[in-house]
């Protein structure tokens, strides 16, 4: 359903490309994990799909097709139509995507306002509450009327998830969506994502540094380093038998609850 072909992105202010020839596909109903070095181009890849590249400050080439519609070179009007409705995005840093002056609940319901103007404001309110509840926000009625700075890091992250899933897009781009969540809520969010994937067939690109979470959620995984896709395969295969040296190092560095005197420890 999503096909990225030979994507190149180079920011004018940088010498090296942020993304160098990445090709990736996400099949219908698939959850693809994207992991890799910090700064390796994961977010830039996702932003290219979402039509959110700062086009004026970079050069880009290649193609990105969502069910046959070309996105990378598409004009703004088309992209705006896709955003929220066809493609939902959970940004790595929620604050960067939130309007500080708008109530949380209104931001959660915003894609409904844009894409389903026929829905009454009362219904929109209830839809927003329902989405917030799905995303495990406690007291949605209370949280609805608060502003972004009044929420904890993990609450904002859940508000962002609620905003992304409210209109049941075809594709969800999740960029580090669980970094600010405690393990209990994280487990609930993973269940929610699995359920949306199962019941609504939503496909997902799941970017994360938490490799244990990726292993639990994603059937396939791609590994990036320095703008290049260095490895791709079934998650279990990659874990059991990583080929690229970077993948090997990555898997070896997963923090575990080993006793402090364990041999693993000299890395810390």
């Amino acid at each position: 359903m999503l096909e990225i072909k030979d994507l190149h992105v180079k920011f004018h202010s940088r010498e090296r490309e942020a993304v160098s020839g990445v090709s990736l596909t996400i099949r219908n109903g698939e959850i693809l994990g994207l992991v890799g070095e910090s700064g390796s181009g994961k977010t830039v890849t996702a932003m290219s799909v979402a039509g959110l590249l700062p086009r004026r400050s970079c050069d880009y080439s290649g193609s990105i097709e969502l069910d046959g519609t070309e996105l990378l070179h598409a004009d703004r009007t088309l992209l705006r139509k896709m955003q929220g409705k066809e493609i939902g995005v959970v940004f790595q840093e929620p604050m960067s995507a939130m309007d500080p002056l708008m109530k949380i609940g209104e931001q959660v319901g915003e894609t409904l306002l844009l894409h389903h103007p026929e829905i009454s404001s009362e219904d929109r309110y209830y839809c927003a509450l329902a989405a917030m509840r799905e995303a495990e926000l406690p007291n949605p009625e209370d949280t609805y009327g608060r502003y972004p700075h009044e929420l904890s890091g993990g609450m904002l992250q859940r508000a962002m998830i609620a905003a992304a899933i409210i209109s049941r897009p075809k594709l969800l781009l999740l960029d580090e969506p669980t970094t600010a969540l405690d393990v209990t809520i994280q487990a609930q969010i993973l269940e929610l994502l699995k359920k949306l994937n199962r019941e609504h067939g939503i496909s997902m690109l799941f970017i994360s540094h938490n490799l244990n979470v990726v292993r639990k959620l994603c059937s396939r995984v791609a590994v990036m380093q320095k703008g290049i896709l260095v490895e791709e395969g079934q998650t279990e295969d990659v874990w059991e038998n990583p080929h690229h040296p970077y993948t090997k190092r990555l898997i070896a560095a997963i923090p575990t609850r080993t006793k402090k005197e364990a041999p693993d420890h000299d890395k810390f």
Binding site: S13, G153, R158, A180, T184, L250
Partner: protein, 245 residues
């Protein structure tokens, strides 16, 4: 223990936020309830707990950004530093990374320009940031690069006490291991103490000496890492550890 062993003492602190801005007289929302703990010299104290429970609020209260309604916070060091959970909002968007890192040295340090540059370059290398990041503004960086800028800004000031709020959550595990190693080295070299807030229990287990567990704004359990992880007493601690399996 005598007070000279302490870098921080938090005693029966109750704290929260006023609703609806500065002028309105609406109720105060109490977030922290009767929180008490100490941080000792050279200690890495972990803080774990529910999302939304008040960990960041506790950090803000310790630094005086939020005034406690009751109880006391006593610092035994000067200029404690904080690595904020959200580097996006805490780094000045108008300046380059080079400027942001050099600024505290200009204000507090007694170093000339070449020495400042040397220290900035050294810190940049220690947090594994490529040199080209120096010329970038915060919004032109990746999430993990921003987080490392924020770590570098705090560490370059050579604090004696550092509060780190989810400092490695945006880093891949290899760089994360590098940063954790750096934090330990600084502790060993400079007797630096930390309050280390994290949702990653494995990281807390590997890095910290003692842990506080928070739930609904209260500390429900505290003890050494081995005690808490191997013999948790509180129901919530048990749940948390089970969910991390």
């Amino acid at each position: 223990m005598t007070n000279s062993d302490l870098v921080l003492s938090v005693s029966h602190v109750t704290s929260g936020y006023s609703e609806g801005g500065f002028l309105s007289k609406r109720a105060r929302r109490e977030i922290l309830h009767d929180v008490t703990f100490d941080v000792h010299h050279g200690e890495i104290l972990g803080l774990v707990g529910e999302s939304g429970t008040g960990k960041t609020t506790l950090a803000r209260t310790i630094l005086g950004m939020v005034k406690p309604d009751a109880g006391t916070v006593t610092h035994y060091t000067k200029r404690p530093q904080m690595i904020f959970q959200d580097p996006y909002s805490s780094l000045n968007p108008a300046y380059t990374v080079a400027w942001i890192l050099e600024e505290p040295l200009r204000i507090f340090g007694k170093y000339d320009a070449p020495e400042r540059k040397r220290r900035v370059a050294d810190m940049l290398a220690r947090v594994e940031l490529p040199e080209e990041c120096l010329r970038a503004k915060p919004e032109e960086l990746s999430g993990g690069q921003r987080q490392r800028v924020s770590i570098a800004t705090a560490l370059i000031q050579r604090p004696r006490f550092l509060i780190a709020d989810e400092p490695v959550s945006a880093l891949d595990v290899t760089i994360q291991a590098q940063i954790l190693k750096l934090l330990k080295e600084l502790r060993d070299e400079f007797d630096l103490s930390y309050l280390f807030i994290s949702h990653d229990l494995n990281v807390v287990y590997q890095l910290c000496d003692r842990v506080l567990v928070m739930k609904s704004g209260a500390v429900v359990e505290q003890g050494t890492v081995d005690d808490i992880f191997d013999h948790p007493k509180n129901e919530y601690t048990k749940q948390l550890l089970a969910a991390a399996e």
